[in-house]
Symmetry: C2
Subunit: 617 residues, 2 copies
Amino acid sequence: MNKPIKDLQPIKVEASPFPGSKKVYEPGVLFPDLRVPFREVALQKEANEPPVSLYDSTGPYTEEGFVPQIDKGLPRVREKLVLDRGDVEFIEGRKVKPEDNGNVSAERLAPEFPNLPKVMRGKPGHKVTQLEYARAGIITAEMEYIAIRENIRRKQDAEVIRDGEDFGASIPDFITPEFVRDEVARGRAVIPANINHAEVEPMIIGRNFLVKINANIGNSAVTSSMEEEVDKMVWAIRWGADNVMDLSTGRNIHNIREWILRNSPNPIGTVPIYQALEKVNGVAEDLTWEVYRDTLIEQAQQGVDYFTIHAGVRLAYVHLTANRVTGIVSRGGSIMAKWCLAHHKENFLYTHFEEICDIMREYDVTFSLGDGLRPGSIADANDRAQFAELETLGELTKVAWAKGCQVMIEGPGHVPMHKIKANMDKQLATCGEAPFYTLGPLTTDIAPGYDHITSGIGAAMIGWFGTAMLCYVTPKEHLGLPDRNDVKTGVITYKIAAHAADLAKGHPAARAWDDALSRARFDFRWEDQFNLGLDPDTARAFHDETLPKEAHKTAHFCSMCGPKFCSMKITQEVRDYAANMTDNEKADLEAATGMAEMSQKFKDMGSEVYIPAEPAE
Amino acid sequence: MNKPIKDLQPIKVEASPFPGSKKVYEPGVLFPDLRVPFREVALQKEANEPPVSLYDSTGPYTEEGFVPQIDKGLPRVREKLVLDRGDVEFIEGRKVKPEDNGNVSAERLAPEFPNLPKVMRGKPGHKVTQLEYARAGIITAEMEYIAIRENIRRKQDAEVIRDGEDFGASIPDFITPEFVRDEVARGRAVIPANINHAEVEPMIIGRNFLVKINANIGNSAVTSSMEEEVDKMVWAIRWGADNVMDLSTGRNIHNIREWILRNSPNPIGTVPIYQALEKVNGVAEDLTWEVYRDTLIEQAQQGVDYFTIHAGVRLAYVHLTANRVTGIVSRGGSIMAKWCLAHHKENFLYTHFEEICDIMREYDVTFSLGDGLRPGSIADANDRAQFAELETLGELTKVAWAKGCQVMIEGPGHVPMHKIKANMDKQLATCGEAPFYTLGPLTTDIAPGYDHITSGIGAAMIGWFGTAMLCYVTPKEHLGLPDRNDVKTGVITYKIAAHAADLAKGHPAARAWDDALSRARFDFRWEDQFNLGLDPDTARAFHDETLPKEAHKTAHFCSMCGPKFCSMKITQEVRDYAANMTDNEKADLEAATGMAEMSQKFKDMGSEVYIPAEPAE
C-alpha cells in the first residue's frame, strides 16, 4: 500500500554548523556517558576573551560534518538509559490501521518510516515517569543531563550577580541534579520525554529554569507534505525551538508524525483529538472514548512526548462562551464543546481522565492540559469561561499527579497587557505551580500579519512573570499556515521573548550572552556581533547591505555615523580621562553639580532602580 | 550653484488611499474651518455595522485623487491660523550659507527647494508658544483640532467602558479643547508645531492622550539622497509615524531638510548638534556656542518642530560612563562629552540654556531634552550616569517652562524588563510629568537584525507605564541605515506597541478597533480583517499565499483548519444552545460543577482579573 522507499527523493533538511561556532559536549558525573551539547562561539583574536558558551537545542544538525539520514532517523542514544533502569519492556506495539492515516488512497499515502523502532512500555507496577523517579529520590540520567545543560558551562563556584525580579520563583545560583529532581518531584517542572522517543535530548520546563519555547508545525487538509514538515521541524529547532508540536490535521497524520519523531532531538507534542476527529471523518459528535483511547496508545507508542488534552472544557462552561466576541477559538476546545452539546453529556476526556492518566503514565507522556476556552480576542480575555476552565485544570493536575504523571498547563491567547499578570497569578494559585505554557498572549488584535510581534510582547511579559514555556505565534497567525520563513521568524521572536524574560527574572546564566555581544558591539568586532546574535545570517546580511566590503568587517565605524565621527570612539577618550582623574577632582566636580546629594539619593532608592557601577578606578 | 530644478526627475512618493478606506474630515466648533482627518473603513455588507473610524496621521497622501507635488510642497493651511492670532510677523530670514550644506561642491549639492515660504517669527513681547497660549487660558486652533482628533469620532455622550490600569494617568472619557489646553498649560503635554511649519496637521504628545510614535530617517556621510529621504518620510507616515526625526549627517543637510519639512504633514524633529558638527568639519572640540546658535536659528526658521538638545551631559557626569560596557552611545551625548573633556568646561548647551530657550520660544520649537548618557546595553541600564543626567533634565525642564517653552524628555535605550518601570517613575518624579519620549527600550542585546522586536517589547511596556511617544527602532538598528522596508517594519511594530499600551491604559478610544477586527475575524469577513489591520497589504498577501482564490475571501474557513472542521462555526451552535437554556438548567449545571462558588470567587477577585460577561440572555 505504501510507496516503496526507494522511490522517495532523499529528504533535504538544513544541516550545518552556525558560523564561528562549534558544538561541544560535556560528560556527566553520575552518568559519565552523557554528552550534553553546547554551542561554543569563538571570538575574534582582538577580543582577548574565552569563547562564549550558549544553550544549544539544535541537535546534531549543527554538528560539523553531520550528514542527516532522514530515512534512518537520529541515533537512539536514550534507549539504553531507559532500559538500564529496568522498568520497561519491549512489547508488540499497536498495529497501524488505515484510519490512522485518514484512510488515504495508496497513491496519496505518505511513505511509512522505513526504520521503525521496537515499542517500549512500563512494566506493570514499575515506575516509568520522571515524576515517579523524582519522588522516589532517584536522579535519572535525564535529570543530570538537564542540570548540566541549564548551567551553560558556568562553574559551581563562579561568582554570581543576581539582578532581577522573579515574582517568587526560586532560581538557584547553580543547577544541581538534586535540584532538578526536587523540582520535578514537586511538580514545578516537567521533563517531556516519552520512553519511546529515544532520540530526545532531555530538556526541562519549569519556572525555575531557563524559559523555553515551542514551535507549531503540521500539515492541514488544505496544504503541505511529510517532506515539508520534517524540514520545518529541523528548521524550527535550528533557530531555537526547544519543543515542537505537530498539529497536523487531514490525512497521513500517523506516517508524518513517525518521520518527525524519529528525526527530532527535541520533545514533540500533539493534540490527539485532532487525529481522533479524522478517524470519525471530522464529525465531532461521532467521537468516542474508544477511538480517543486508541489514538492515545497509538501516539504514545510512537514516542510523542506530551499530549494536549482538553479535559477542562466541561459541559457547564460551554454556555459561558455564548456572548463572547470570538466564542471558542481553540480547535480542541470547540471539538469537545460540540461533543458535549450534541450529547448533552460531560466531556468524555473529563469523565475518563483517570484512564487517560493510566495510559500516559505507562510511556511517560506529559500532560499539557489544554485551554480549550482561551480567549480569542482582547474583548474575551480573563472572562468567566476562561477562568472556570483553569480551575478545572487545577483539579485535574492533582489527579494526574496522584497517578504519577507529569503535568503542564496551557494558557492564553489574546490578553491586553494589564490583564496578563492575573493569568500567571491565577495559574500558580490554581494549579499548584505546575508549569504554565502559554500561546503568546497577543496584546492587541489589530495587526494580522504581525502577530509574532503582538504576541511576542505578551510572551516576554508572561515569561517574566513565571510562564515556563512560550508557544510561538508566527506572522501567518489568523491568515494561513506558516512556511519556513514564518517558522524562523516566529522562533527568533520567541527566543527574544524567552531570553528577555530570563534576564528580567535575573536568571544567573542569562546575562553573560548580552554582555558578550555588547562588548563585541562596543569594540566593533563585527564578526563576533554576527556570530553571537540569535540569527547570524540576517545580522550579517543587513550589515552588508550598506557596507559589504570585507575591510568594513574590521572598520571601527558603521554606516549609521560613518567614519568621520563615532560615538563609540569617544568613550575610549572618556576612559583615559577618568583614569587620570584624582579623587579630589571627582569630588570637586560632584560638589559643583550637587552630585554628592544626588548620589546618596540614588543609593537610597535601592537596587531595583540603581545598580551600583564599578568604582571608577 | 544649485542644480536647476528643471533637471530634477519628478520625485515619486507613495500616494494612494488605504484599501476599503476613505479619508473623511470633521470641522471644528470654535474654528469651523478646521478639517480634522480620519480614516473611515467601510465594512462588508454582511457585517451590518457602521464604518470604523481610525486615527489618521497619514496626511493628504492617502486622500483619494491626491497628486503629490513634491517641488511645491503641501498646502500651508496652518499659516492663516498662526497669523490670525496676531502675534507673529514676517521677517527676512537667515540666508543659507555654504556650510549649511557641508560646503558640498556644486555638482553634489542637493537641489534647493524651489518654493521657499516666507519666514515668520514671534513679535517681541508676544505669546507664540502653545504653552503660553494655554497658560493664558486661550484655546488655539491647534488645541481644538487635537481634541477632535483624539476622540476618533466618538460622541461625547457615547457610553464608555473603562478597562485598564493607567498607573496614575488622568485620561478623561472624552477629550475637550479645554482639557487639551489644561494639559499643555501644566506641561503634561506638548504640541510640536513650529509656526514656520505651516503644513503641519497638529497632534499632541502627552500621557493622557493616545500614545504616539516617531520614525527616524536621514542620510549619512555614507549613504542616501534627498529623493530617498522624502520618500522615506512619506512612507513612514503612511504606515503610522506621528512624528519623523531627520537625523541626517554628512552633506546637504539644509536642503534635504527643507524638502522634508515642506512635504510633511507631521511634526519634524532634528538634533541640531549633528549639523553644527558638520559645520566645524566633524571636530567636536571646535564646536562653539555661536555655531550652534546659528544652527538653531537656521533650523527654527525652516520650521523644525522639535529639537533634541543634549544639555544634560554635564562635565561632571562624563567620568561616570568610564566603566560602562558600552560607554556613551548617543551621538549627541558623545559629541558633547568630547567637547567637555577637550575644554574641561561645562557643556555649552547647559551654560547657554536660557538663550536656547529664548530662540526656541520665538518660533515655538519644542524641546526634546536628549538623553546623551542613555544606556547602550543591558549591563549599563539605570546606572548613575543615566539617572544623574535625568535629574539635570528635570532641572532644565523647569527653566524652559519658565521661559514659555514646551518640553519633552528623551529616555532609553537598552533596559531589561524589570528595570523599565523605574525609568518611567523616575522621569515622572524628576521632570514634573513632562512627556517622556523613549527609544524602545531594547529588552535584550542578543538579537541584531531583530531589534524592532527586542525594543517593541520594551516600548509597549513603557508606553503602558506612561511614556507619551515611542521612538521606533528598525531591524537595521546597530547594523546599517534603514531602507524603505525597514522603515515600514519599524513603524508597524511601534504602532502595535503604542496601541497595546493604549489598550492596557484603558484609553476609551482604543478598544473599538480591536473589537471591530475581532468581530470581522469571527465572522470570516476576510476583506474587513485585511482592511482593518495595521497593514492591509501584508495581511492580504499572507492570506492569499495559501488560499488565493477570490471565492476564499468569503469562505467561512481558513487554511489553518480547512473546510471540514472549523472552531468558529461551532460557536454559532453554542449560541443557539445557550439561547435555548433556561435559568434553571444553568443553575443545575453550575451546581453540578461547583460553579456557583467559583463564580462568587471570581467576583471577589475584583475587576482587574475578571470583567463580567454580559448576561447570557
